[in-house]
Symmetry: none
């Protein structure tokens, strides 16, 4: 056993270094790499993917993982969880032909740029051939990986959210469909009115930046272990608890966008920064799953960041930065403004209430594409139809429709559903936490560190050593139940 | 032969990818990596250094380089130049005992910290034992590498500037000594007076940034293939013609510093951006030598950027950005302000006229240390004596004396002389270019692209495929001649 552990740990040490380097190349690519270097960079990424593949497919390493997996009962709990994850990941190396796998890596390293151009030009056909390749690869992938228990889209879903497949998601989204679709129609029937100062105001970037920096302090995001930068699409990128970076964006005609992007990404970042540092050198640093990750970002963004208690305390600071723009706007109006529910087109700008329905559109489209019932070329039409049906608003172009999200362009199918799941986890976690910490009071006393501490102890510290199902039991003492989410939304948005 | 070429090219392809990744890690480290991640990053860098060493010391790869070197007459000119360079680099791996080489790497990976602390505390004795080891290693190194033709300090000089040894540098510095030392004494006798607006003004960072961005346009630095960022010490970092990044710094009490740092780094960057792109995948992308690289940065910074024609055209833009600060300051006064010659202590802040003499001090000290005539412990005393003798100003402490520069602490002895050589190359190149391009007129017409084009055709396009001696012949049609430099300085600084 010890020989297998040594082999595994030695290769892990090497792969973690390759991972660190690749992580920075990705960070650079998304934040500042000059456009004219794409082709060259893509070539280097391809070469390094081969190098990493050589290591990952090293027979001694694979044997070590397999033997450790077979003898997992002799391992301590964390190491066992890690080996189970590695064994699961091994499927790709063992079952997918190397050339196809590498070709896919190269494809997706270029295709985000194709997508970006297509979105910019509102031209789905520019992106179509690339997206067809992405879907084709994913369809082949599930064939290679299928087992008697798992087939088709199930395999992709489970890849992004351990233990969740069509059955679980169908139950979840059916709950949303039954409970929310008509509720949303009602709740968004009447258009609320707000001062033109809020809807048409111009909020200079420098002051928005200053408020984002203020938020870092409020939430305890530590710049000694992170970076706040700009990118078109905000994201979090962490490599270890000691370096977890975030980006945000600033739109001068939209004050709320930078505020809630910054808080959202801090939620992701706090999760990884509060991992037990012992995981930094392992393969279970990070979150339990994408859904669990999203639960933290949504909890911070929506349940803390959009709460009345939060703005009662921090609105004066915002007014101080925008004295002219916010003159005469009360905290009550501002609170209602940032909590409007409305029928909208863009998922990342969508309010809490409608958000899950935006995701449901993507879930149904992915399911249909992977099982072959929907052609990629038909996506734009079908997208519009489902948006109209669930959210109650029909896009008139693809930029605000099927081209709005980056995910498919980097190859991820099965990822979107975790977003809605995250919000649902968050509602359940919030009510569990609220039994032990008076959350509203903590917010009102500018004591978010009490919230951070509870989340650290019940979720963050575990890193990736627990599955999301295990973690929900640890944190909330009961299995996942979407009704918390539905109840929370209905209570908040009842008119 | 073809088998050796294939072996070489395959390994080159892999090492270039590792190089690209390592380049970005370095860029990140110098510009934005959070401080709290240093230890973790250092560990990853160590692992990757091992990976690269494994590749570089691969026997098949070494054999390929040796065989190609033996048969270099069968190779085309560029490939031949590359193989000669690779063969030269191989000497270290082949002749220096691995343990000593690794011990030295470990030493210099720590010694910049020792140096920084010693400089901070102005305590040479803190740095002395480390510097003694650095000198000792370099003295052993030249023993290992010596040949009937090259011995001692010659070997180190030639390592940093191909074809330049004591004979060449003695001739160069003796010319400076004879022609400039007394000239400088005279030229710096009278202290010029300037408006307090220039000497004590505060120039906000945002406007300085705007002017730096303006300069990018003026010089044709293409952000599609580069990045302008901030760092404490400005530098250029290029990986290929398609991605050559620069940094600058902004000091609100020193307007000139950001301007000339930006132009200086653009000079370095334009050199690499204008390399023939075919070199991007080879080991001869970049510059011919350190001296040649410095010639480009100094030519752009001093001969273009500090010219009267330049400021006649661009000073109004500067006034537009700093209307209050520059009110009443004429372009003539500004021009004189940025071209003051004075006796100073710090090399990197020295003016054009005295700069070469600062370097001469270091050259003489290095030569004496390597040939054993000067003990490291005697450096501070000797430094002060030579500064007084050549520059006419005697440091009263070591922080502004022997401890000011980082270079020795990272092990580099023989590097400094290339700085002075660069300015001298620049003067000779300028006069050659001026026969074909009316430089002042090009500047006055905001047509720096005409200058870029000449430098591209005569220098930049060759990348590292020519030695500096070959390149001087190509560009100026005669061998290097330091009199151009002396004449240029005397003409510009005659009172």
């Amino acid at each position: 056993m010890q020989a297998y552990i040594n082999t595994y740990e030695d290769m892990r040490r090497r792969l973690k270094a390759y991972g660190y380097y690749a992580w920075l190349v990705g960070w650079d690519q998304e934040t500042e790499a000059p456009k004219g270097s794409i082709e060259y960079r893509t070539k280097q990424v391809g070469v390094m993917a081969e190098e990493v593949y050589k290591l990952q497919s090293d027979p001694d390493y694979i044997e070590a993982i397999e033997k450790l997996y077979e003898n997992q009962d002799q391992l301590d709990a964390d190491f066992k969880a890690e080996i189970r994850q590695m064994f699961k990941d091994l499927r790709i190396i063992k079952k997918v032909p190397k050339e196809e796998y590498i070709a896919f890596q190269v494809l997706v390293s270029q295709s985000t740029h194709v997508w970006a151009e297509a979105k910019h030009k509102d031209d789905f056909n520019l992106f179509l051939p690339t997206l067809e390749k992405v879907v084709e690869f994913n369809r082949k992938l599930v064939k290679y990986l299928e087992t008697p228990e798992l087939k088709g889209y199930d395999i992709l879903l489970d890849m992004y959210e351990d233990g969740f497949g069509i059955k679980e998601y169908d139950h979840f989204f059916n709950t949303l469909k039954e409970e929310l679709v008509s509720f949303v129609k009602e709740a968004t029937e009447k258009k609320e009115r707000f001062s033109r100062k809020l809807t048409k105001g111009i909020f200079p970037k420098d002051q928005q930046k200053a408020f984002s920096r203020y938020l870092l302090d409020v939430f305890g995001y530590d710049l000694n272990h992170g970076v706040l930068k700009e990118s078109e699409h905000p994201f979090t990128s962490g490599v270890a608890s000691i370096d977890t970076r975030i980006t945000t964006h600033y739109h001068e005609d939209n004050l709320a966008s930078s505020i809630f992007s910054t808080i959202h990404e801090m939620g992701h970042a706090l999760y990884e920064m509060q991992n037990d540092p012992k995981f930094d050198d392992t393969n279970i640093h990070g979150g339990s799953s994408l859904g669990m990750h999203e639960s933290q970002s949504r909890l911070y963004e929506n349940m803390i960041g959009r709460s009345y208690a939060f703005w009662q305390l921090h609105y004066p600071k915002l007014v101080e930065l925008f004295p002219k723009q916010l003159k005469g706007i009360t905290v009550d109006e501002f609170y209602r403004f940032i909590n409007q529910a409305k029928r909208s087109l863009i998922r990342i700008e969508a309010d809490e209430l409608t958000y899950g329905l935006h995701v449901m559109v993507r879930y149904e489209l992915e399911k249909a594409m992977i099982n072959g019932r929907l052609k990629v070329a038909d996506l734009p039409r079908k997208w519009k139809q489902l948006m109209s049906q669930y959210v109650g608003k029909r896009p008139t172009n693809d930029r605000e429709g099927v081209l709005q999200d980056i995910h498919w362009s980097f190859g991820a199918i099965g990822y979107f559903p975790t977003y809605a799941l995250g919000s649902a986890y968050a509602a359940q976690i919030y009510q569990a936490m609220n039994k032990e910490v008076d959350i509203e009071q903590a917010i009102a006393e500018n004591n978010i560190k009490a919230i951070n501490a509870w989340l650290k102890d019940h979720i963050h510290v575990y890193g990736g050593s627990k599955t999301p199902k295990e973690l929900m039991l640890i944190a909330t003492k009961e299995p996942f139940n979407p009704n918390y989410y539905v109840d929370y939304l209905k209570q908040k948005f009842s008119v």
